[in-house]
Symmetry: C2
Subunit: 550 residues, 2 copies
Amino acid sequence: MQTDDYQMRLTNFLERARLLFPNRIITSREANGDIVKKTYQEEYQRISQLASVLKAFGIKKREAVASFAWNTHRHYELYFAAPCMGVTIHTINLRMSMEDIIYSVEKVEDKLFFIEEDLIPQFEPVAEVLNNTLSNIKGYVILSDKKNIKDLAPTTLSPLYLYEDIIANENTDFDFNEDFDENTIASVFFTGGTTGRPKGVAVTHRHMFLRSLAMTSVEQYSIGQRDTIIHVVPMFHVNGWYFPQTGTLVGANQVYPGPGFTPEIILDLIAQEKVTISGGVPTIWMDCLNHIKAGKKKHDIGSLTRVICGGSALPRNAMEEYNQLGVNFVHAYGSSESPFISSSYLRPELDDLPVDEQWKYKASVGMPFVGTELKVLHDDESEVKWDGKDMGQIVARSPWTITSYYKESAERNAGSFKNGWYYSGDIATVDKYGYINIVDRLKDLIKSGGEWISSIDLENVCTAHPDVIEACAIAAKHDRWGERPVLLVIPDENKKESINEEDILHFLSTRVPKWWLPDKIIITSSIDRTGVGKMDKKKIRNKYKDVLIF
Amino acid sequence: MQTDDYQMRLTNFLERARLLFPNRIITSREANGDIVKKTYQEEYQRISQLASVLKAFGIKKREAVASFAWNTHRHYELYFAAPCMGVTIHTINLRMSMEDIIYSVEKVEDKLFFIEEDLIPQFEPVAEVLNNTLSNIKGYVILSDKKNIKDLAPTTLSPLYLYEDIIANENTDFDFNEDFDENTIASVFFTGGTTGRPKGVAVTHRHMFLRSLAMTSVEQYSIGQRDTIIHVVPMFHVNGWYFPQTGTLVGANQVYPGPGFTPEIILDLIAQEKVTISGGVPTIWMDCLNHIKAGKKKHDIGSLTRVICGGSALPRNAMEEYNQLGVNFVHAYGSSESPFISSSYLRPELDDLPVDEQWKYKASVGMPFVGTELKVLHDDESEVKWDGKDMGQIVARSPWTITSYYKESAERNAGSFKNGWYYSGDIATVDKYGYINIVDRLKDLIKSGGEWISSIDLENVCTAHPDVIEACAIAAKHDRWGERPVLLVIPDENKKESINEEDILHFLSTRVPKWWLPDKIIITSSIDRTGVGKMDKKKIRNKYKDVLIF
């Protein structure tokens, strides 16, 4: 690489917003419900002040600072101040266990911590350990709208600083002198694995620049200067799906819903700020839909044109109901390692299909994104036929797919990466148009008598039962068949007395092949979940290990 | 760079089109007017065959082959076959002088030449020289729909091959094994300088990948799979403005109008193929508009939604007339060295302005593109005020701006590049919204008594005279004032007897400051132009050097 080759850095976005969109608005909700509005011009000044603070603390290029925070304008400021001076931001997942948080911080060796005020109690025991194991911690900065440190409740965190207090008198025009290259790590976050401690995903400036540019593509999310984005995706999760960075690149208005937001808060903000686009997992959008339907208050969400829904599928009837409200839901598929693999936009070839047939495609995880290369591979690495039936593992590579975990051994990388390709562990089919249907997680497939049973399909059929809220299929060891399915079922609150195993089996018997019928059905009131809300099959298998042997 | 970091190569686009858009259509017009249609699937096979041919000729990675060709599907095939195997395509500008062509080929050391059949006579004298100066020329391949070499007219080109003949029996599934990195040169072309021989612009795979991705951005041209592109921009000029590559990335239908296309051919193809987008210089679109207005035949261009117009400005009334036909013209500004700097899309802030005021912005060259960093600098490198008045030189950098010329000395690079920034030589103002107005070429500004006179402004005022078709203002040396303006004027064909210097002076006198009034006005019937159709002020100054001294 020539030394004067253009280096793709986040400073490009920051400076663009300052120059071209100084008056566009970042709206943020404080913990007390107050709404604060800052222009990009003002945000540039605050980001400059924060960068000055980091410099004053002696934080050096390629060192890291950590955030333990909600979606606020202060977190946004850290999203830019740190990377734009060559410092890494480590976004700690609030939902990780204390042990995993400590593990990840020790790995990154964070020098300074930005802690949301209401999360102080949760972080105190973590800090207590870290103060013994890390020698270079410079302090804990509390994210709050308070301006005087004396207004904080007593805490064991020390040295303690207050964000608004320490940035207040700093220089509002920091010199981001860009003396680092595009392969410098901009952010790192950790993702829960199926075994052992979480693994780190380090994202370079190059990766972030390219991913954000791709988000503006008409083939993807068409995010532009006419948009107003609400940040529903947690900023501690996969860089907030790159909405904060993309919004800055194009000068979109942005809305940060703050600590502990509810469906009501989201819906109010959408109406007040005329939000046009959001992302998010299905749960929050189901909650919003139920809130709208409960009808206690009228919410005008007419400005919202599209929602990118990831993590799992939004039920079709919910997609249809949103559609009637003018909101287009598209499914996006990806992972922490490769955040954007596919999306369920309709191809023009499908425009003339009956609506009912179009839903088949909208309900899939869509076709590969521009820039992303995808293959679906059999165990022997041969490619599946694109016939909607042949199954294999999704593997992908792209400018925004990592090719190894952060500071991990070859052993912990094995299985996930090979020759620059990411092996997702997701089993899928692809149809002739390139639409992908996820069949199962590689580790969750149930192999009975040499035949695969899809746990996802079994769950979907079961949840179609009118009295069932959720179902979870897992494999039990079986002497004769190798594995056999066991089904956990959460019934409707009002039916939990009346529903029984017989009902479910009877319901399933006409809907799945006979050999798919579970050997055991367990009626339960809760299912273990991971930090990001997915069913935690590892934990579930462990919990039921005594009943899972036949 | 880690070795397994994702490498952005054109193969990504080629494979994507094959996998996801095998049935989309590339339409091409042959020299005899026949229309041929190939799917991306078929094109992939032909590109494979062509790659096999290049391999059989012994062309190695990082060596170059040259094209001397029109906009056809064969040229498109070469656009992919060569780069995707790590070979450089050198697109020779058909309008360069013989001496410059020889100079450029000797610089690149092209090994194989792809010559359009009708251009054989033009290339024969070039080849005659090259056969003496270059030792490794493997031959001349004629681009034609003919299948038998005996059907070609006699030629001195030797060894001679026929394209359709040599690819016919080759392997249709070439192994593009990608054993080269993203900084490998994909294409090279030459751009006329103000002094001396043309300079080479080498474009890497990375550059092409990123520029094409940016073309799909909703902030730029929103090129997507629902588009049908007609290639009006010559493919020998700045990679056809990246339309062929972008079209392939998104699987758009593409239309190549072939050798010697006319406005009638373009308009017919737009109607027949339901073209949605094009690029091009104003001249061709003015010709098309006049053709439509002449009304000999009805042309349905209702499918065309947008045209990217570069090189110079389309007159406002033409933009308005197209607008009434449903076509949105946007001005794009750039150069060979930095092909995409700005574009005249309207910002949402301007949506509510009266139409008349909006035209001020549409007539500008617009605001900087996503990804492009722009500064406008005074001579002392301080930045101009964004007030629409303060003037300075446009400098830019981006992932698709080169940072030096191909194989050039420091001396020949000086003035154009500094610290990774490209110095355009264009003088401009920027208004508070970031809209750029080009005032002049640095070298064409006229400095009289210490004050700048804009040659472009003077020309624009003069062409507003009802009897004037075109005007060209140049600087004459002047003992007292340093420089004084001289104006060349091309009058309307019917007025050339009646118009005189007095008329023009009188017309100008009420419209420009007194000290702008030209010291001499020359009525003439033609003005020298560069290979891409711009006024060649270097040549003009030279031609009139004897009359340009006061």
